[in-house]
Symmetry: C2
Subunit: 429 residues, 2 copies
């Protein structure tokens, strides 16, 4: 930027907002040194400016009037940390229309209103940066979109939700039930009071939408792909896969380029123990991608939290100061993806867990049903249960199309010998 | 860049140069789309333009005269892939003086002539980018220097040499001797005919110099820090540490900010099995860093090779096209680091392996020597060896200063009961 000093305005003085204030308090010297000029946090707007956020702040910069930021001619960059759709969207668009660059961590807003946000930034010749929206503090979007931009990507996988990863890690390490770990995570503050968004995969889906746009140039709205959470996973699934099959379970967002179009999905996934993603535990996140020249790359760190997310937000501000005129094409702004593979056509190996009554011939009936649907079996394990007349059966299939497995599962569930619903977990090879 | 098309000149048509040509052959459409304008590889200079490099190339762009690149007014960006100090340095400086931006993968050159290269780029108002010089294809320098620039770094560790990591991985997995794995690696093309540079830690040291400058703002020439290779590591060290102590061995470059100044060193290091770096195997590299806000971040991928390194080189070209005017301060250009911790003052846990004669009281003499030097012992293991009169002893110490351990080891080596030289491996906690 050609100005002799840079002024930043912040809207939303919540958890991450307080982290941003803390960076300006603690690392002001680094910021100014790197940029070669002073960088100030000039205004902080929030409806509540009286609650103590646990950070030192010059009270004269606090305001309840958002226009002290949006209409302030001194402000060069606006940080939006309001979250959600409205009024965040109105604030972001107004900032851009007023010629201000915008930094946001708002994945929901970006995943839903991609087209309008990018076009408005372009029309007003300002920058719109959102590194913090995917992977929290982990450098993901800039590496993907710039350092690795000579590559055609084959696949982008990611562990993108810290709450879900924490729950699955604890279930795996301590053999605990989903409900028990969720409660513990809520007590520790690792999970929200209403955890739906995290554990049902919606948060991962929003991040995957942003990654897919940047990695493959296609915008795919969430209603267009399969999103499945982790609530049905049991300690028995995890235990069996770990000990018998050398698999670890992770909630993955997956985007893959195939000959039949883009393949996008979010679901719990078994991955091999020696895959580097299998070692990403607790609240940590990681994005694993494969480029045609660079090969596999993994970017790992804290995907959420006040300090890590604030690091990415302020990093974006510096990037704008370094490169005010940067223009990267995100590909055509279109709301419809051109060629996409339906979940029915996805090819995968599957783990199937079901319970049958203890009768002769049951196993044969089940394997027969799988064969009839063109599914070949890699392994089958029938557990004897002396205390019960129910028999748990675990099947691992070879690669097959999702529609085959769904048809077979429907038939199997209809068998009178099968108790309850069968469970399906996809396996990443 | 404001020009309507961009022309790139390449000097050095070797392995990585051929990879760059391949990217332009295969992904020209992506490059031009991302930049919003055509990007051409206009000239390729090498003394040998007749040997087949296994890539398709328009022969009219080949030249043996380097001035067809350096003095060519059409060329905007020069890629230097000559390697070594001269004539690479002359070419880079001349390109800058002629107003051309420069991209280089030449870690030796950058680590040694940092000051002159950066100043010349600044004076001539051109960019100098060298992402490929550290971590090959892995996005490291841009994330460190831009995305994470709001952080004060506490530490930067790295597995930065693929050859050394391949050898240590194979030794660990298959219980093989250093010499045998080295020979196998040479046969497979993973190690050079003269592997000194890789296995003695010099390559890691050069990369660490670049990382230290970017992460801590200090330039530390190689003669100022301890560099130790992996040639003395035995399968027995690895086996014992793995099975008895839960450690894995890696050749690490380590830069740490401490209260007593910067701490910089390169040496084989035991790290805990559950540290994410312990899962980085074969020829892969990873940089692990800790920032005061972002916390731990790891960047993983292929640290060498034609395709991956070319990905970083072309990524740098695109970064220059996106942001021709980007100016990031690398901190003061000084050839002397202000405050640095001597290796004698480094605090670490240590693994000591030695062999003694089988006599009563030997163990007591050795533990006595350690105690006298202020070293407290975490564990000691004496192995009985029925076929020999020699007794191997393994000691793990608590944290102590390097000078204490060096004094103690000298005393121990002088004991008449001790055979040969004791071996020391530092442990990263």
């Amino acid at each position: 930027m050609s100005k002799s000093e840079i002024n930043i305005g912040l809207i939303g003085f919540g958890t991450i907002g307080a982290g941003v204030v803390e960076i300006f308090n603690k690392n002001q010297d680094i910021l100014s040194k790197k940029c070669g000029k002073p960088v100030h946090l000039r205004k902080v707007a929030d409806l509540d400016i009286t609650t103590d956020r646990g950070v030192k702040i010059d009270e004269s910069i606090l305001t309840t009037d958002v226009n002290d930021v949006l209409e302030n001619d001194d402000i060069d960059i606006v940080i939006e940390l309001v979250g959600g759709y409205e009024p965040a969207k109105t604030f972001v668009l107004k900032a851009m229309e007023n010629g201000k660059h915008v930094v946001s961590a708002n994945k929901a807003l970006i995943a839903k209103h991609w087209e309008e946000l990018i076009s408005t930034a372009d029309e007003n010749n300002v920058r719109f940066s959102f590194e913090a929206s995917v992977g929290g503090g982990i450098p993901v979007l800039q590496p993907l979109n710039e350092c690795l931009s000579a590559n055609r990507f084959e696949a982008i996988y990611g562990i993108m939700n810290g709450t879900a990863n924490y729950i699955l890690t604890k279930m795996s390490e301590e053999g605990l039930k989903f409900e028990d770990v969720l409660k513990e995570a809520q007590d520790k503050g690792y999970a929200e009071a209403d955890p739906t968004f995290d554990i049902e995969g919606h948060d991962t889906a929003q991040k995957l939408i942003v990654l897919t746009k940047l990695g493959f140039g296609e915008y795919v709205p969430q209603e267009k792909f399969h999103v499945e959470g982790i609530t049905k996973i049991t300690p028995e699934d995890i235990e069996f896969a770990k000990n018998e099959l050398d698999y670890v379970i992770k909630l993955l967002g997956i985007a893959k380029q195939t000959n039949d179009g883009l393949e996008i999905r979010v679901h719990p996934t078994f991955i091999k123990k020696d895959h580097l993603l299998a070692s990403v535990n607790d609240v940590f996140n990681a994005i694993y991608l494969i480029g045609d020249f660079v090969g596999p790359v993994m970017l790992y760190g804290q995907g959420a939290g006040r300090m890590a997310t604030a690091s990415a937000v302020v990093g974006d501000c510096l990037d704008i100061i370094f490169n005010e005129s940067k223009r990267i094409s995100y590909g055509p702004v279109e709301s419809q993806v051109k060629s996409m593979k339906n979940i029915d056509d996805v090819v995968s190996k599957y783990y199937i867990s079901l319970t049958t009554v203890d009768e002769p011939g049951v196993l044969q009936t089940i394997t027969g049903t799988l064969n009839k649907n063109g599914i070949s079996i890699e392994s089958i394990t029938q557990k004897t249960n002396i205390d019960s007349e129910s028999v748990p059966i675990i099947i691992v299939t070879h690669e097959t199309e999702e529609k085959n497995i769904q048809q077979a599962i429907q038939k199997i569930n209809e068998l009178k010998e099968v108790e309850g619903e069968s469970k399906l977990i996809r396996i990443l090879e």
